[in-house]
């Protein structure tokens, strides 16, 4: 699996996760990092797509914070 444009870098993902580990021995293997990069990409795209759909349901072309706020609860439940 290549790292695609507009995705999270493996190194970034590793640091993001390691920031919150409670145990100093915890590591993440390469495949898990790549999968987490994909998962985070899906998370962002879902947030954006759902907010966009919300704005469009309100007949708007510009997506604003309130559209994100409306879709956030379900988004978090789905992840």
């Amino acid at each position: 699996m290549e790292e695609r444009e507009g995705g999270f870098r493996k190194e970034t993902v590793e640091r993001l996760l390691r920031l919150h580990f409670r145990d100093g021995r915890t590591r993440v293997n390469g495949d898990a990092l790549l999968l987490m990069a994909e998962l985070l990409k899906v998370f962002v795209r879902e947030a954006a797509a759902r907010a966009a759909r919300q704005a469009q349901a309100e007949d708007l072309e510009k997506v604003d914070i309130e559209h994100v706020e409306k879709v956030l609860p379900q988004l978090l439940l789905d992840f």
Partner: protein
């Protein structure tokens, strides 16, 4: 003292990571904007970025717990699949990616 320096280092790291997440969020929002024919306000991109950054804390802690539960200190694909369990389509997608990785690893 060195504790203060450690705290500063961590703050700097957090800033850099926030910026990295914000950059990638911007790119991905741009893709979605083109797909759907909408515009995202700057505040919207910032909000999605911040939410994503914060969600990483939950992900990291869950992954660590899953690995620990399996008596491992290294987080693997299996742990990530557990993380993706709440949505059928997400789980299917992650499992598919995991299978692709596994087969390319065998080559």
């Amino acid at each position: 003292g060195s504790e203060a320096a450690g705290g500063e280092q961590r703050e700097l790291l957090i800033q850099r990571l926030r910026a990295a997440v914000h950059y990638t969020t911007g790119c991905l929002c741009q893709d979605v904007a083109e797909d759907k024919g909408v515009l995202f306000s700057k505040q919207t991109v910032a909000a999605i970025s911040e939410i994503t950054f914060r969600q990483c804390e939950n992900f990291a802690r869950d992954l660590e717990m899953f690995a620990r539960h399996a008596k491992r200190s290294t987080i693997t694909s299996e742990d990530v699949k557990l993380l993706a369990r709440r949505s059928n389509s997400l789980l299917k997608y992650i499992t598919q990616k995991s299978d692709e990785l596994a087969s390319s690893n065998m080559e």
